[in-house]
């Protein structure tokens, strides 16, 4: 603990002098190195994933992204991300479509409607829902939700609105639709809690002004709250979408590990993250591992773009608000 000795030493002097400035240099230096370390870390992640994917990039090139094939048989090896990209898109977009209206409803309820005694507990509950680990949601999804959907919901949807090709015949509980429901439960609290905080920042005088003009509460929400918080809500949706796209564990358990592109939501499927997660025991060939890392590279690039987009929206909204104030 030489730094502690330096402390007392420097403090005893009337003028701290060189040693104090030396201490400044050390603190600023270590903190600065840590900060540079964060930048290096992110760079290292991109570099490591990109270099791990290189053999697959060489073998399959860009068409890997849309090829619908995953054949690890030696001698006839061929890999492509098409099926998993499709599975990821369907489950994430489906979850976003289901979760957004519910989340906005929850956020409006908590910021505008709820009586005081309900507000605190429900807010805490929604945040608890966000904290449940994905592996627990996946466990619940495969052992509780999937059988219920298989026995009751899927056949009912098929017999009533089966003319839409999305709701084809069902056979397994582990299917794309179960994945959508599981992801909805996971991203709902994210969108809801960010939107709630945004709605609370809407100035009270704007809301009261609108209500004073005689509009109903819904018209006030549509005319004042939504336009004011719109950018932030869009960012919250993007973040929720990014979370759904990157989720691996829960969907790996409930999607049934299928291959191919089909409209039927009651068929099995797989996502990018799920495919990676299920191959963790690493028995495959070098090319298969590299192809899995290629899948991770697609996820990584996508997640970086999504986050930059969300940050851009947030910053633009903040700047606009700053000018207005």
């Amino acid at each position: 603990m030489t730094s502690l000795d330096a402390t007392t030493d420097a403090a005893r002097r009337p003028f701290p002098g060189r040693r104090a400035r030396f201490g400044d240099l050390i603190l600023q230096g270590t903190a600065g190195i840590a900060a540079v370390g964060a930048l290096v870390l992110v760079g290292l992640i991109v570099w490591k994933i990109a270099s791990g994917a290189r053999p697959a990039l060489h073998a399959f090139g860009l068409p890997f992204v849309w090829h619908v094939v995953w054949n690890p048989v030696h001698g006839r090896e061929a890999y492509g991300a098409g099926s998993f990209l499709f599975g990821t898109a369907v489950t994430s977009i489906g979850a976003l479509l289901l979760a957004t209206p519910i989340a906005l409803g929850v956020a409006l309820f908590l910021s505008e409607l709820a009586p005081g005694w309900i507000r605190g507990p429900v807010t805490a509950l929604v945040e608890t829902l966000a904290a449940i680990p994905s592996v627990v949601i996946g466990l619940w999804g495969i052992l509780v939700l999937a059988p219920i959907l298989r026995d009751h919901v899927d056949p009912a949807l098929h017999s009533t609105i089966g003319f839409i090709p999305l709701f084809g015949p069902s056979s397994y509980g582990s299917n794309v639709f179960t994945g959508i429901v599981v992801l909805t439960i996971m991203i709902l609290p994210i969108i809801a809690s960010i939107s709630r905080e945004l709605f609370l920042t809407v100035p009270q005088e704007l809301k009261e002004g609108a209500l004073g003009l005689g509009v109903t509460r819904w018209e006030m929400v549509r005319g004042v709250v939504f336009p004011y918080a719109g950018g932030g809500v869009a960012a919250a949706m993007i973040l929720g979408f990014g979370r759904a796209v990157g989720e691996a564990i829960a969907v790996a358990l409930v999607l049934g590990d299928g291959l191919g592109i089909h409209l039927n939501l009651f068929d099995t499927g797989q996502t990018l993250g799920g495919k990676i997660a299920l191959n963790y025991q690493g028995s495959g060939s070098g090319l298969e591992t590299s192809s899995l890392i290629y899948l991770a590279l697609i996820l990584l690039v996508f997640s970086i773009l999504v986050n930059l987009l969300a940050q851009l929206i947030v910053r633009r909204a903040a700047r606009r608000k700053g000018l207005a104030a």
Binding site: A38, I102, V106, A124, L125, P133, S134, L139, W218, Y280
Partner: protein, 298 residues
């Protein structure tokens, strides 16, 4: 007025009624949405509690897993011990690193660098956990094999943005008058920072760390490639792979054996209870520390 026959829909009082009814409808939908969210949370927690509770006994907490021996009474003590090691190591890596970055950003960095580092950590927070697992696989596991060090490092990467954000937010709350007071009595900047400013943030940093621990304790994806192929029995040595609670839940829930499912539920219950306690602790710490900083500023 009487010359023009108004259709009933255009009479003002009817339109007002229509607007009111529509408003009622939308309010009802918001109530419904909240009910749905609470219902799903209730169902998930209830399923876990109901199925896990009956399995929670002394054997479960003190005996470890023995694979392929269904007759032996089994527990998950090895997974509990492993999770403890993993999360502890990860916290030890992420905490000082995150605090130092926050100190640099809030106390030293010029504005453009500040926002660049903030943006970088936001991007890092958005990188899927499975990708981080694969990154550590390429960085450490390919050369040195699976180990608790590798797993803890992956968890630390996930914790880092949480710790950073929590610290930087409370650092920004510390009133400038405290910094000026420190510099005013002749203390050098580093002593002001370490001796006066940072101690004010302990509560906030603890809150952020507790939340990060709660988050990371349930993470499975980063451990699959870095610390999942563990030998039987309780191990404390981090240079080998060790079992952890989330990986155990993942493996057990993918199994066909009903007794495995029962243990998966019990492990999930332990996990949820831990996370619940951690979140409540964090909430309590947050309100306490905010009050303290406000008082110090006056």
């Amino acid at each position: 007025m009487s010359a023009v026959e108004l259709s009933p829909l255009h009479r003002p009082q009817d339109r007002l009624r229509r607007r009111r009814v529509f408003n009622r409808g939308m309010e009802a939908l918001a109530w419904l949405a909240a009910a749905i969210a609470v219902f799903f949370l209730g169902v998930v927690v209830w399923s876990v509690a109901q199925r896990g509770w009956s399995q929670l006994n002394l054997d479960f907490l003190t005996k470890s897993q023995v694979q392929f021996e269904p007759a032996v009474p089994q527990g998950l003590a090895n997974a509990f011990a492993g999770s403890l090691v993993l999360v502890g190591l990860a916290t030890a890596m992420a905490l000082p690193f995150g605090i130092l970055i926050a100190v640099y950003v809030n106390e030293f960095a010029p504005r453009p660098i500040r926002s660049a580092i903030g943006l970088t950590l936001d991007v890092l927070a958005g990188v899927p956990a499975i990708v981080i697992g694969f990154f550590v696989y390429g960085l450490i596991v390919v050369a040195h094999g699976q180990s608790a060090y590798a797993g803890a490092f992956a968890l630390a990467v996930i914790m880092l943005p949480f710790v950073y954000r929590a610290t930087v937010e409370v650092l920004a709350l510390v009133p400038n008058s405290l910094r000026e007071a420190g510099l005013g009595v002749g203390a050098p900047r580093w002593r002001t920072t370490l001796g006066i400013v940072l101690p004010q943030t302990i509560g906030g940093v603890l809150t952020g760390t507790t939340l990060a621990v709660a988050r990371v304790a349930g993470e499975t994806a980063p451990l699959l490639f870095t610390c999942s192929l563990a030998p039987n029995g309780i191990h404390w040595n981090p240079s080998g792979a060790i079992q952890s609670v989330p990986v155990a839940v993942f493996e057990l829930s993918d199994s066909a054996e009903p007794s495995d499912h029962a243990r998966a539920w019990a492990a999930a219950l332990v996990l949820i209870l831990f996370i619940l306690v951690a979140s409540l602790t964090a909430r309590w710490l947050a309100t306490r520390s905010k009050r303290k900083i406000m008082r110090a500023g006056r």
